[in-house]
């Protein structure tokens, strides 16, 4: 029996069951004389148990493949190898590719760009009356305007071979930087968007894939621009579109 005064830290340690048995007994006796305080401590325990129970399910889930893959740097998911190979084929050379590709996971700043692009996609694609600021009828003006604002010559790629026609485009502010959004639509009314924003650290990466909810995105960096192709489409289908975009942009 120490008889030391009961501090708030003692009470927290009591909640956590981390007191030596003798001290815990003292706290229990102390609480027995203070019903209000005892009720508060009981509530803190219940809240803690509720948190523990609610988040336990997440720890019980199987480890997502993309996380396990980080710990196995030598094995790359098959589709990424294919994507990288295709890009090498399309670009006609692999210089700089490997560095950019493996360097990616360490650069969360770049992922902000694709998050912002997916956010913009989700905001503007459902728009019925004003999906774009400048329509496809004024394509030349649209491209010239967005190129000027983004600071690099842009192109609205021709995706008719993939079944998509240009709806138009708009200027976005992404992380305080001007970004261009081009919107396309197919005969079924399905819309995809292409985002272009200047990339301070010029380079090249392979196609990277990301999915948020039911929205898929492929993104890559080519020279001084970062691109994202976004749509509520299966990965393979979107990959085809992304390849078409890449190919169209490459024809300077």
């Amino acid at each position: 029996m120490t008889g030391a005064p009961v501090s708030e830290s003692d009470l927290q340690a009591f909640v956590d069951g981390r007191l030596a048995p003798a001290r815990a007994a003292e706290i229990e006796a102390w609480l027995a004389e203070r019903p209000e305080e005892a009720a508060r401590i009981a509530a803190l325990r219940q809240d803690r148990d509720a948190l523990r129970a609610a988040y336990a399910a997440i720890a019980a889930e199987p480890i997502p493949a993309r996380l396990a893959a980080v710990l196995e740097p030598r094995t790359t998911p098959a589709w990424r190898r294919v994507a990288a190979a295709v890009l090498i084929f399309v670009a006609g050379g692999a210089a700089g590719l490997a560095g950019g590709y493996y360097g990616w996971p360490d650069e969360p700043e770049r992922r902000d760009v694709v998050r912002a692009a997916i956010g913009a996609h989700q905001v503007f694609v459902p728009e019925v009356r004003h999906p774009v600021e400048v329509g496809a009828a004024e394509e030349a003006h649209l491209v010239q305007w967005l190129s000027k604002r983004v600071g690099h010559p842009l192109k609205a790629p021709d995706l008719t071979a993939s079944g998509f026609r240009l709806v138009g485009g708009r200027l976005l502010a992404e992380s305080g930087r001007p970004a261009a959004l081009f919107m396309y639509e197919n005969a079924a009314g399905l819309r995809i968007t292409i985002h272009c924003v200047s990339e301070p650290r010029a380079g090249e990466t392979a196609f990277l894939y990301r999915k948020v909810g039911d929205v898929s995105a492929f993104y890559w960096i080519d020279e001084k621009l970062a691109y994202a192709v976004i749509g509520t489409v299966e990965r393979d289908k979107l990959y085809e579109v992304a390849r078409a975009v890449y190919a169209a942009l490459d024809k300077k």
Partner: protein
Amino acid sequence: MSGVRALVLEQVPALRRYARALTGDRDRADDLVQDTLARALSRLHLWRPAASIRPWLFTIMHNLFLNERRRSSRMVPLGADPAEPAADRADSRALLDDLDRALGQLPDEQRAAVLLVGVEEMSYEDAANVLAIPIGTLMSRLSRGREQLRRLLDGDGRPRIRRVK
């Protein structure tokens, strides 16, 4: 997979749980875990094998989380699903949403203290080290965080005041 990588892998479920509770967003949480793993691998040489790998990984995650918070003011938030009335959904899912919402109202440093100690069951010493604060500071953040959470919840994780539809 080498021994150290296997040790790291063992911690992934706990890292995901902590990241999910910390950020309140599934997707952002796994990004945080991914960044944590990548950074940990690039710094494995800094880890002293005598020390437990768990607090070391959580420290890396905490620092990345703070960096992300600093950047996030410049970011378009990718909001979670628009809030539907929680009562309309499965009970466990509704409870999780309520807890996310309550945790989200705590300051970052209190939320981290409550989760590291209460959910991750980390020792006070380890939790203080992860957050780079003295134990006394940890205890006061823990106390204030739990107290605010108690005011937001009614003791079994349910919000004290149900939202009105």
